[in-house]
């Protein structure tokens, strides 16, 4: 313990040098901006600045890249809250409550809560990484194909109940998402599925055009008839008014802490990812939080839970990267490439062979997270101006953003077509109360689930017993049963209570 503090202190002396603070600032700013642009995520940002960082000292370079990574996580929530287009997949759950809050004229508070929760989640993640990173990464290895499959199944099972008034419709859209996810070359067998002979579909539908179409473009179609009078709301909103009051802080902080811890752990697991993390935290909050009824309709806890979790998960993926040399996410895979080019071999020996580097990086995360949250909060008043742009101008501008965002993801017009088509489909589905978020979430989670399940069955020679062969997977299976059963039990319980209370009431 004392040793860790010493190392950390040493690290701070590296992290607090002028150029490293500057690097963190540039990284954070670029990350926030790129993360906020629909279609571009931190992977693009990191890949974009990677060549630039080669002229820097390794530690300065990686600090800048890490800044982009968590800056991107902050930025991803802005477009989700302001124009209902999640910048990346973990921000889908942010959009649920964030955009609902913005519609109620509480965009400022939503943005502030998102930033604050991102900061809390990030900090929790970094603290855990500092003291238990290598240990947790080792524990994460216990999650094999069977455990990962059950974990994702747990997330997937609860998706359908997430939203909307009709659970049936929620489950239907969840399953549509699963079916859409099977398009493309099947990794396990190598055969093509549902590609309709198109090479564009070999790698499957991409999430980005899908989310831009289903959230953004369908939103445009809806806005035409809504003509929200945005001019009235928020005219006087200042940074001061978007600050949270005591009551709201009381909701935000506990939700952020719970979700941060959970999100971080999921982020450490091999290949589970930030989306699983933020979704599970969101659902957890919907089950245990004080404000569960409002979740999905503009609850501040919803924004907190998913933002805190996805930042914590982003930090979590550094644990297996630094201590085992295993990249846990797309972005950390790019970082791994970067590290290797600086001549660093991430792996079990990195902590011993390059302690200045590792501890410099970890210390810089504390500094960088603080810098990012300050930058992010200062941007709020400017972001508020977007909300005040009248709908008449927003509609064509968002349409163009949808276009450019869908195109830029892979420089492909095919994705633009996908964006338009899925936008129209989502518009019809929404008009009959089919929730869209479950579709997108299951779309993201399915490939991992399918692969992990088939790996597990391959290992067990087809025996289903493998899914209940370890304490971890048994616990997770029990949780699934609990998750599915609990709404039913709650209903029964409530009915009984209602019967009991009735005589008193009358």
């Amino acid at each position: 313990m004392v040793e860790i503090f010493g190392m950390l202190l040493n690290g701070f002396s590296t992290a607090l040098s002028f150029e490293n603070i500057l690097a963190a600032m540039i990284g954070a700013a670029v990350g926030i901006i790129i993360g906020a642009i629909p279609g571009l995520g931190s992977v693009t940002g990191v890949a974009l600045l990677l060549p630039l960082t080669f002229s820097l000292e390794p530690v300065t370079g990686i600090i800048m890249l890490a800044g982009i990574y968590y800056g991107g996580m902050y930025g991803g929530s802005y477009s989700a809250i302001l124009i209902n287009i999640p910048g990346d997949s973990p921000a889908v759950t942010t959009a649920l409550d964030g955009y609902a809050m913005a519609k109620k004229g509480k965009a400022g508070k939503a943005l502030f809560a998102a930033n604050l929760s991102s900061f809390i989640g990030g900090t929790i993640g970094i603290i855990i990484l500092t003291f238990m990173g290598p240990l947790l990464a080792q524990i994460g290895l216990a999650f094999g194909p069977a455990e990962i499959a059950v974990l994702i199944l747990l997330a997937l099972c609860s998706v359908g109940w997430l939203l909307g008034d009709s659970p049936r419709k929620g489950i239907v859209t969840t399953m549509i998402g699963i079916l859409l996810a099977t398009i493309g070359v099947d990794l396990v067998s190598g055969s093509e599925r549902f590609t309709f002979g198109s090479e564009n579909l070999l790698s499957g539908l991409s999430f980005i055009p899908l989310v831009i179409g289903m959230f953004g473009f369908s939103q445009i179609l809806e806005m035409i008839s809504e003509k929200i009078k945005t001019d009235d709301i928020g005219d006087k909103v200042t940074l001061k008014e978007s600050l949270l009051d005591g009551q709201e802080l009381k909701s935000v902080i506990p939700a952020s802490i719970r979700s941060g811890v959970l999100g971080n752990f999921v982020g450490i697991l091999p290949g589970a990812g930030a989306t699983t993390g933020s979704l599970l935290s969101y659902i957890f909050e919907k089950r245990v939080g004080k404000n569960k009824k409002e979740m999905g309709k503009g609850a501040i806890e919803g924004v907190s839970a998913s933002e805190s979790a996805n930042n914590a998960a982003a930090v979590g993926s550094f644990a297996p990267l630094l201590s085992l040399g295993i990249p846990g996410s797309g972005t950390s895979a790019v970082l791994l490439g970067g590290l290797m080019m600086w001549g660093l071999q991430p792996g079990p020996l990195l902590f011993q062979q390059n302690p200045e580097f590792v501890w410099g990086l970890i210390s810089s995360m504390y500094v960088g997270n603080l810098i990012t949250v300050i930058a992010a909060i200062l941007i709020i008043p400017f972001l508020m101006k977007i909300i005040r742009i009248p709908t008449s101008i927003m509609i064509p501008v968002i349409t163009v953003i949808c276009f450019v965002g869908a195109y830029s993801f892979q420089n492909s017009m095919f994705d633009v077509w996908i964006m338009i088509a899925t936008g129209i489909i989502a518009f019809y589905l929404k008009s009959h109360d089919y929730p869209i978020a479950p579709l997108l979430l299951s779309f993201v989670l399915t490939p991992r689930l399918e692969q992990a399940a088939r790996q597990a069955l391959n290992l067990s020679d087809g025996s289903l017993g493998i899914f209940a062969s370890s304490p971890i997977s048994i616990t997770l299976l029990l949780l699934i049963v609990l998750f599915i059963m609990s709404p039913l039990v709650m209903k029964l319980f409530k009915k009984k209570q209602a019967v009991k209370e009735d005589p008193i009431a009358s």
Binding site: P51, P145, V188, E199, P270, G337, Q345, F382, K385, L459
Partner: protein
Amino acid sequence: MLKFNKIGLSIGLACTLAFSLAGCGGNQTAGTGTKEKEASAESGYSLGKNVEFVVPYSAGGGSDTNARTIAKIIKEEGLIKENILVVNKEGGSGAVGNTYTHSKKGSPSTISTFVSGQISSAVMSNAKIQLEDLTPLGTLALESFVLLVDGDSEYKTFEDFVKAAKDNPGKISVGGTGLGGEDHMVYHLTNREASIETKFVTFQGGGETLSALMGGHIDAFFSNPSEVMAQIEAGELRALATASPDKLGEPLNEIPTFKELGYDIEFQQFRGIAGPPDMPEEAVAYWENVFKGVSESEEWQNNYIEKFSLEPTYMNAEESKAFFEKSETLYKELLTELDLIK
């Protein structure tokens, strides 16, 4: 009018952001321009456009590292004056990237990393774009495969492994990154030559396979030495044998080759470069020159070849073409045996 001002403001803000971003981009070009003049003096030919360096696999993988190292060396050595943008076009086991490169027909400024997997997957899926549809430009390195088990595994030597596999046919699981990939082919070759039967489990990428092995969920897997060196050095993983013709460089020089152990297993992956079809002849010559420069640079020898335990190689466009075609024939044989060709 009041509204209008606000819009102006937000647009103004966006502009400022854009310019500050442009500032960052600016540094990027400024830092690399040092040796521009030398480069254009060396060769009369000029691309005139920024180079798009296609990587048909995801960021962080072997091809990606390879491309980024090459791009870095080209810049540092001032081999070309244009900027190089590495783009990842992953998917379809390389088919998406191949198709993309192919679509840039006649372009002198599009190049792509080209590895064995792109040939084998094209053969296997009967893809529209085959080796003959692209222009080989050069081969820069050969990379072998090592058979790995966990550091605590009961298999101390390859003999232990073979014995266990013979005792429990079809029970030992070997992880891999896709059917018909190089690791699958060397897996098949090993099974065939050692007359054993094991189980192949596919994962998404080396990282996940590594987690599964270290977590004890699978028994073994084949990997390029570069991706697991740190873990081998730390004793977390044990390499039983290498499929290279000769022993690997330090610090992996203790690993026996399959040949030494008496098995006729030799399999090497190549790392080459290809361009779109109908690339102008001057452009091919231009790139040959560039890659020769890369392969001769100290940086390449020290920080890539040696660091990743590769076999240093340089083949020009013509030699590469012949070499790729020879590999294609071998892959067809192995894949036919695996019953993977459609």
